[in-house]
Each structure stands twice: as C-alpha cells, then as structure tokens.
Symmetry: C2
Subunit: 671 residues, 2 copies
C-alpha cells in the first residue's frame, strides 16, 4: 500500500486498501439481498453497500430476491427463510457472519444485531478476512451508551474537539449528513443509546423538554433511529419549580409527580421511543431531592413513574458528594460519598431506574480504585460510567490510550459472590456501560486522531469486556492505518505505552488531584489542598497521601472483606494506588527496593523520556502516514512534551522543596 | 447629635449637624459674592451655596455686588479688587480662606484654587471652624489623577462597587446627576484629571477615539469641566493597525505618526481641553513598540508629537514586565523590570511625556518596597501610581485603610540628592500622583462605606504628602460620621488598626503573591510558584523568600547605595520587607527574639484576633450609626473574618506542613 492520506473523518470505517478480494468473493458481496421491513435491517444492507464502496471500492446492488452468488442480510429468521439454511443466533443484539464465495450471510438475532453484523463484516474484511471466515458474537450487556456534555450555546463541557455537533447559539443546529455519519460510527461499535445534552442542565437546555425544542429533538431522533440508537434527554430536577409552574420540585409532592407525568406525555408524543431521562441531582450545585429533605430513591422513583407508561427509563447519576467541604475537616472523605449515599437505598428503586456509577470513587482521575458499589449493590439496576473525553487524561493533546486503564477496571474482582469481576458482572449484575463522549465539530471528530482509539475502545469493551487493550489497539490501528507492519507496530507501540507514560508524569501512585483546578490540564500540586472540593494529598515534610484504612477514614471498609484487607495493608495494596489508600512516608521502601520519594522522581523523569520515545516512534513512520494526520498529531505531541516536562519539574520540585532530598542520580530538579 | 443615618452617597460632603453657626457668621455666609467669568470660579460659588445648604441647612444667595456681611469667592486678583483688601496666594491651584463675621474670603491663586478653597471652607466648617479661622494651602504637585479601569460593557476591572458610572452595554451611558456628584467629590479632594477607560483598551473601547464615541465623550467632559477636571483617554497603541488603516503600528514608521496626528486632531476637535492619552504598552499582552523592535521612548515620543499641537500629554505606564516567565529560571526577577526598562531611557522622553510608575515594583501588593526608579530618574517627568480599589487589599469587603501604607511610601527616603523622600520630591522631581479608582454604581460609591476613606485619603495625600494616616482618618471620620467622640474614637481605631491587621493575616513579611490567581482574594500559597507571572516565595523545608541582594538577583542594586546596603543586609532591612529582599531560614531570630516561623504563626493568629476586635469596636457604636451603613459594613466584616481565618489557617498549615514545627503556644494549626 502507498502513502494515501488517512481519512480521519471516516475513522475506523475507512478502507486502507487492505482487502484485495478474489473475483468470486467480490461477486458474492456485490449482490446484497435483504427482504425485511425493519428500518434498522434495511440500514444494515445500506451500510454494507456503502461500506463496500467506501472501504474497498466494491459496487454492490441491493435486491430482495435471492440469486447466488449473493450476500444475505437480515434477522436470523428472515435469513433462514430466504436461504433455506438454518441460521441461529439468539443472544440479544447478536449476529452471525459467514463469508463464502457463493453465499455470505449476515444474520442478526434482531434488528440491531443485523446492523452490528453488517458493520462487523466490513471491519473483518478490512482486517483481512475472506472466504471461509465465520463469526458469531453478541454484546455482553444491553445498554451501551454515550453521554454528551454538550451545551445549547455550542460549547461542550470538557470538550476538546471543537463545538457541539448538535447545538449552536441556543438552538438545535446541525449538519444532518454529519449526524448520520456520527450515528454510523456509533452503531459500528455497538452504541445503542445517546444522551444528547449536558447533565448540568442549565439555561436554555432546560427547555429541551418543551414544545420549543421537542420538534427539533424528534428530527434528531429520526436520524439516529435507523442506526438502532435511542436518544435520552438530561433533565433538570428542579424544572417544575424553575419553569414557574409550581412552588416546589419536592418529589413527594403529588403535584410534582403529576407535572412530570404530563411532561413525559408531551415528550413521548414527539419521540415515542425516547430511552428516558438522565439526571444529575444534588450534585455540584444542581437541584435534587435533598433540597426537600427527600432521598434519591424518592427523587428517581417519582420520575420513573412518570416515564413508566412510555417504557422510559430514569438513569440517575451517583456522582453525589459534598462539594462545599471544609479542608480542615479530615473526617470527611469524598471517596466514600457514592457508597454512603446509595448503598442504603439498595432495593428502594423502581425497576425502570438505573443508577449510573463512575468507575472510580472520585472523578475519572488517572488512577483510581474501582467504586465499591459495584458488586455490593444487589437489588438495584446500574451502569458503569467511563469518560472517553480526556478531561484529566490530557485533553486530547496528550496521547493517552484509555482502554489500557479500562481493562484494569473490567478485570477488577469485587469479591462479591461468583463471577465477580466487573467484566463478569456485565450483562447480569451490571446493566451496561456508559461514557462521556469526546467528539466535536473538528474534522477528525476527536481533535487528536489517536483519541479516536478511545472512542472505538469504549464501544468494543462495552460490547465485550474481555477484550484486552492490546487487542483493541491492534484492531483500531489496522482499521485506521491499514496493514503495513511497520505502521502497525509503531502505532500499537505508541498506544500501548501512552497510558503508563501519562501516569508516570502525572500525580504519583494514585494520589489523584494534583491537576489545575477548573482547567484540569497541567499540574497545580496544591490546587485542591485548601479547596471546597474535598480531595487532598496533604503532602508535608515527611509523608504524602490519605489514610483511608480503618485507622483513617475507613473507606476501605466499603469493599468486600478480602479487598478491604488487601487495600488496607500497605504491603498488599497495589502500588499504583498506594497513595490513594495510605499516608506513606517518603522513606517507605517500595517493591523495587527504592523509597517512595525516589520512585516519584524516577517515574517523573521516565515519563518525559517516554514521551520523547513516543515522538521518535511517530516520526519514524512519517512517510507512511498522510501528511495532515502526521502533522496534526505531531504538533500535539510537542505540546504533550511541554506538558510532561512541566509535570515532571513541578512534581519533583514540589517534593524536593518539602524534603530537601535530592535525586539519587543527580538529575536536575529545580529548587 | 442624634442617630440620623449617615448619608453614604454624600460621603465627606454631608453635614452631620456639626456646626451650629452664630447668627453673625450665618449672615456672613448667607451672602456669597462672586464676580468672575471663569466657569470654575462660578462653580466654586455654587458649590459653596449648595454645600452650606446640604451640610448645614444654611440658605445662601449668590450675588455679584459686595455688601457686608458677605463671603467673597474668587481668584485672588478679583477678590482683592472686590474687597479692596490685598489677598495673596500665588502657588498654583492654591487658595486662602479667612472666616469672619463681617467678611469671609475664599480666594484662589487661579480658578481651580478658588474651587478647592470653597470645598475646603465647607469641610473646615464641618470640622468646627468658625470666625477667626484662616488657612492658606496649595497642592504640592500639579497632577492629581484618578484612572478608571472601566470597560465599555459596564464591568470594571478590579471593581468592587457595582458597574461602571460611565458605560453600559458598549455605550457611554450614565446618570448625568451622578456624574456631577462624582465630579464634586473629586474636586473637593483636589483631583484635577481623570482617565475614563481601562488601560487595557480592548474591543469597543478602542473606538472611544472615533466619531462613534467622541460626541459622547465631549458631553462627559462638559460635566467635569466646571469642576476643574480634565479628562484623559486610554488608547490602544496598536490602533493604526487594528483599525485596519495601516499594516503596522511601528512608532518609527512616518505613516503611524501621521495617523496619530490626524487622530489627535479629530479628538481635540471634540474635547479641546483633553489632558491627553494614557498608554499601557507592551504589558500583559497589550500592543507596544517592542513588537516593532522599538523602545518605549520611541513609542511615547511618537504619540507626544501628535498631542503637542493640542497641548496634550502622553502618560506612559511603566508596568512593563515579562509575564511569560519560566518559573525554573531564577535569574529573572520581575521586581527589576520597571527600572531595567526605563532607567536607560532617562532623558530620551519628550517634555509632554510623563511616565506613570507604580509605587512598588510589583503590583499593589500588601507590602512592597518603593520602586527604585523614584529619585533615580533625573530627566524624565513621572507620576507615582497608587491603587484605591482594593484589588489585593480585601476587595472592599475587608476594611483596609490604605493611607496607613501610603504614608510609608511618601515618607520613604530614596537617598538620591536633597529632599529625597517621595513626599519631598512631589511637585518637583515627581509631577504628581495618580491612583486606580474604586467607585461604581453602588449607592455608597465604594461598596464598603469605610473604603470611602481610601478615596478621600488618596486625594488628601496627593495634595499634601506630609499628612499622616492619623490626620486623614480623623478628618474623614469627622466629615462622614460627625463629631461624637465615641463614634470618632471607634471609627478612627478601626481605620488605624485595619492595615496592620490585614498585613498580619495576609502574606508574611513582604513576601507578596500568596493570593489566589486572577481573583486576588483569599490565599493560594503556591498559586504563583509555578506560574508565568514570575513571582515566587519558593518556600521549602528550611527557608522562604527571594534573595534580591548581590548574592541573588541584585535588585537591591537598583537603589541608591545607602538604601541598597540597608535592604541587602538582613540586619538592617525592615522586617516587614524581609522576605521580599532575602531568603530567610525559618529559624532566623527576628528583633522580637522569636524566629521567623513563630512570627509567621503569631502574626496570623493575631490578625484574626484583630478582626474580631474591629468587629467588636464597630458593634460598640451600632446605636450611633444609621442602621443601613451599620448593617452593610457589619455584613462585610463578617466576610472579612471568614477571609482572615482562611488566610490564618492556610498560611499556618502551609508552613507547618513544610517544617513539622508546631506553634510554641500550642494553638490549633490544621495538619
């Protein structure tokens, strides 16, 4: 293959000239047979047709009559009828694929499954699959969702890739073709639900559930529907009050329930298949049931009853903590908040309420333990929440391949009963995965082209939590950059080393929050030490970290006993979370025989060296990558190096100023 | 006197029922004789008439014929002619006052002097003067100016008293009566020049020098003119370029000079007595001659030539420093910047250029040394700049009587030649004083009523730098609160203790910049330690402060030798500036026998106790102060206490975490 430009816009659905089909296979693929009424199944055939053209230059026709060689697309029942051959796949949203020269088959367990099968066929072909290839697959869990933090003024909270796809100047305002292209990319990785406005529902955004905006929301839903994607709206819990209709938003006031029921009737009149409402309540200044002396079950159930007649769901965020703490009060521990608030409510929630729980107890820090609610909750539906947008992980300036850390989350064993890893609980105890999205109007969707891998990886892991970061990286690289072994090796190397690199030059050993406040990029070591946000490392002349063992805040006690004991013992606590769970003297000797202080110095010097290696690796394949993508990623890598150097020097200086102890290798630390 | 409400709006020009005139004196004052064409002299008579009514309830008539008993108002020549009695006062803008039962006289050396005499008569009467009182006075220097940092959108940069008096929604938009009342207050304390827009001239503000705004600026000038106040406009040095007229703003390009000359012609067509242009160039992102490889003399002189035909002046700010420093580079010292930039240009500036130099080398920190340019500049006209608005001194929430610190500036002896204190150089080597204003649309002008004292005090000190803070406080208290001895004592006590109190709970011993970035209120000890703004205390486990002696950055070398030696020696350096000039170990024993660390603890505990005492003192006179003023000041004092406690705890914790050494009195320091 040559050095054709990587088409950033098409992401992992571009052809890189990988598959040179045999004439026989080409003939088979060129006739697509579909004979079903389902909108999504029809879209599957269309996407197959378009994908074959876009990715491989193959012209295919769509017909409803079978005539071999051909490729039949449809639900398993329909395909069996058409082909006379029994095709079985019965796991929800699953599919099976068979590639043959005479007959290829894409059969879904249902409509969505068929669409996912069509996309998977395209991607497998791009990775080199041919005649004889077959695959059966299904998503582990039923909810695979993206949260948009888009504001109606067109800004995106924590967005690093241009303005909102959906809004501009307080209106719903979009390029319909781009929205369809977005839906395509989402469906290709199995996303089936999308909340389209920021969970902080302020100003005009409150009015999305009124007739001022609903017609436009409905049009947007029309675009996503053929792709098997249902929309959700973030609502403001205080709306009955802030709209001026009632003097309260108290969830136990019957008038409030009635208000929401009527509101739901109106909303569903416009979007009958709306997935429901997403709610951030009593959090960081948002309205909520606490204002009325009610609890979160009261609040969520009230909304659930309003949505119930429409088969709607309330997704209720567990990101509830005291953000007006006094830094002097060390008995308060924000890490405990989600469990403290929601564990006592287990069993109190209606069946169309789903809690949304961040994977870690804080807020998407570089390294956090898994939130102890997972595994502990027994009688409450819930989702695990990730963040694709790189709020604390480099703003899509720094390369940071998140599946590397997400796999650790999925592999974490909660030790609650059988099959108790997060991955193992997906689809049974955990209803699905949701992530804050990362896209905007930038041509390449994600600002940094390499950040597309995080978006892709979230979808792939939500589908199959057993995938490793290596597998995901490799798949993404092949789909995006093609099969050239040198490019393949280089980009895989960059992705796989990026997370540990970022972790090295960032806050050390799970201590969290040494980042600039508000901006959340670059170091501000004491930025949160005296703040109301309540997270501290409390570094002094001899030690750093927070004691969360029974001798401290006893956050460890929220875990199953085996994990509680493991975290509470400095000897068994994973070192990458050491400062999260323990207050550790700088002189503490770590597993590598060096003390904590020296390890802080070492990791920070190493992080910068690793960024330099990432840059060299990227520069090594310059000739094999289109110039635009090469240059835009390279420019970001320059900024990443500056950032890494700043982190290194500020962290090292900070600890050197506290201890007076120099680096044992005599490397430069600024006084 | 009773407990009538203090009329905050009238400030120091309200009557508090102090003067119960004898009938004879009342008769004499009731007939005001004025016979002159000068607008300002006529205003003097008017102000006397209005003031007698407003302040003392005395009805007076204005006439042009002398008939005793009467009070004659006018320039000395005119008064001598009218009364047949030789009145001599010949110092510019000076006056003499004589109070008699038959004939009182207010005679000015010139028009402005007459107006100042009229106001002084009113104030002296309010303080208790009567028949037989006489006074001759004149301002020490000719320029007594206020800078408004008002933006055209109505905001005020560093404003803490409501929106701009002048602007709203990108228009000149004001209450003419309020502007006249403002002019009155300014004239009463001798202010004769006013720049009306922010020195950061951005967006619409650039257009003030165009016909879009000039007619409205002219109307504003009309209001100030009878009060002897000339306006000035802040301009953007890059205007020829940013207006799109030229491809450069290079001061040595003849087209640029021509552009400004034409621009000046236009501006002066509308406001023939405009004082000139105020310029912030090459500072904090503003355009300037450095962009074109020119120096500040090139830039200022080019503008000066444009203004020369109109008798206009360029006031050129010396607040030029590198605000993109690297914190690692300890050879850079922002304190050196003004001297480094401007001392080499001494003698290069045209005679209608005046440099405006902040009193300290940084930026209005709580305690700074006097800028070494003063006394050193020999051949360049210059002003000293203060800040009335309490940017770093409590945001007009905290009581902080600034003349307490300003007197230290005026008393500082530069040791350059004869009569070398700042005060001594006023009116000869230093052309005048300028301050950033503090007023907005709040009813009481300054947010905190007690902050009126700073405004008043700036004017009084600009007039007479020999005044002490005690004298100013006492005068202001009597004029504002009346002559009740208990109120008098209490408010004087509050004012006089407020500055050392604020200094106690703020950054210790002249170390500066431990304040929150951007906001500049409340502590953020390391907020600037790793920033591009270039100011550091570099606290570590053993020491704090910056070595600016010859062994360090040698900033001390910018002072006259005697001062250089004094500052460079820790033993002779004033302790309130110790950490500005020296890096000092915590164990260093100070004059009181305690070490630095313990002194940091002590001052911070004391600062909070002093705020509590201020509150008790204010509460003690509640019954004697109108309820509105009492309550609004008391509410602010509550916030001040919270602020002081935060400063105390954060500063003490910070140093305790670095040293591990507890307070010797065992008081609470949070870990």
């Amino acid at each position: 293959m040559g050095i054709s430009e990587v088409r950033e816009y098409d992401c992992w659905l571009q052809g890189r000239g990988q598959n040179q089909f045999s004439d026989a296979l080409k003939n088979c693929l060129s006739r697509i047979v579909v004979k079903e009424d389902c909108l999504v199944v029809k879209q599957a055939a269309l996407e197959l047709q378009r994908g074959l053209k876009r990715m491989f230059g193959v012209d295919a026709a769509i017909t409803d009559t079978i005539q071999k060689p051909c490729t039949v697309v449809g639900t398993a029942t329909a395909v069996s009828e058409l082909t006379g051959k029994t095709v079985s796949c019965d796991r929800a949203e699953g599919f099976c694929i068979e590639i043959g020269d005479e007959l290829s088959v894409v059969a879904g367990a249902d409509c969505n499954g068929t669409l996912y099968g069509a996309f998977r066929l395209l991607m497998e072909l791009a990775k080199g699959a041919g005649t004889g290839f077959s695959l059966e697959d299904a998503p582990r869990s039923g909810i695979r969702m993206i949260n948009h933090w888009d504001n109606l003024d067109g800004t995106i909270e924590r967005g690093y890739a241009g303005p909102s796809l959906f809004y501009k100047d307080d209106k719903i305002d979009y390029d319909p073709q781009r929205i369809e292209d977005y839906a395509r990319l989402l469906a290709s990785i199995g996303i089936n639900c999308l909340s389209i406005n920021n969970v902080n529902v302020r100003k005009t955004a409150k009015l999305l559930i009124t007739e001022q905006f609903l017609p436009d929301v409905a049009k947007l839903a029309d675009i996503f529907r053929p792709f098997g994607i249902r929309l959700m709206l973030s609502i403001n819990f205080g709306a009955p009050y802030s709209f001026g209709d009632l003097d309260t938003a108290d969830p136990l006031d019957p008038r409030v329930g009635e208000w929401w029921a009527k509101r739901a009737d109106l909303v569903y009149k416009y979007i009958p298949d709306l997935a429901g409402f997403l709610v951030k309540a009593d959090s960081e200044g948002e309205a909520g049931p606490f204002q009325y002396g009610r609890d979160h079950a009261d609040g969520a159930n009230m909304l659930a009853k309003a949505l119930k007649p429409h088969n709607g769901t309330v997704i209720w965020r567990c990101f509830v903590y005291n953000c007006t703490q006094d830094w002097r009060d060390q008995t308060q521990d924000r890490a405990c908040a989600a469990y403290d608030h929601f564990m006592p409510l287990d069993g109190r929630f209606d069946d169309n309420v789903i809690l949304q729980i961040k994977h870690g107890p804080y807020d998407f820090q570089v390294r956090e333990p898994v939130t102890p609610l997972f595994g502990a909750l027994k009688k409450t539906r819930h989702l695990i929440e990730f963040q694709i947008t790189q709020e604390y992980t480099g703003h899509q300036i720094d390369v940071c391949f998140l599946p590397y850390m997400w796999q650790d989350v999925y592999h974490f064993d909660t030790k609650h009963g059988e099959n108790s890893t997060i991955g193992g609980m997906m689809g049974n105890r955990i209803s699905g995965a949701v992530a804050v999205g990362s896209v905007g109007r930038d041509e390449n969707w994600t600002g940094n082209t390499l950040s597309q891998a995080n978006w892709f990886g979230f979808g792939r892991l939500a589908w199959n939590p057993d995938l490793t970061a290596e597998e995901i990286a490799d798949e993404w690289v092949k789909l995006t950059f093609g099969l050239d072994p040198e490019v393949d090796a280089a980009v895989n190397k960059i992705l796989m080393m990026s997370y540990p690199t970022y972790e090295n030059y960032n806050a050390p050993f799970g201590v969290c929050f040494m980042v600039t406040r508000s901006l959340h990029y670059g170091p501000d070591i004491e930025g949160y030490e005296y703040s109301r946000w309540g997270t501290y490392h409390r570094a002094n002349w001899e030690a750093v970290g927070v004691d969360r063992t029974p001798s401290g805040t006893n956050y460890t006690g929220q875990y199953a006993p085996e994990n509680a004991a493991m975290f509470a013992d400095l000897a068994t606590c994973p070192e990458n979370l050491m400062l999260f769970f323990h207050r550790v003297p700088y002189s503490y000797v770590m597993k590598n025989g060096k003390n904590l202080l020296q390890n802080i110095y070492d990791t920070h010097f190493k992080g910068v060296e690793q960024v330099e290696e990432i840059i060299r690796t990227w520069e090594g394949i310059q000739d094999k990558i289109g110039s635009a993508v090469y240059a835009s990623v390279r420019e970001r890598m320059g900024r990443q190096l500056t950032n890494a150097i700043e982190w290194r020097d500020v962290v090292n200086t900070y600890f050197h100023r506290h201890t007076g102890i120099p680096d044992e290798q005599g490397r430069k630390i600024y006084d």
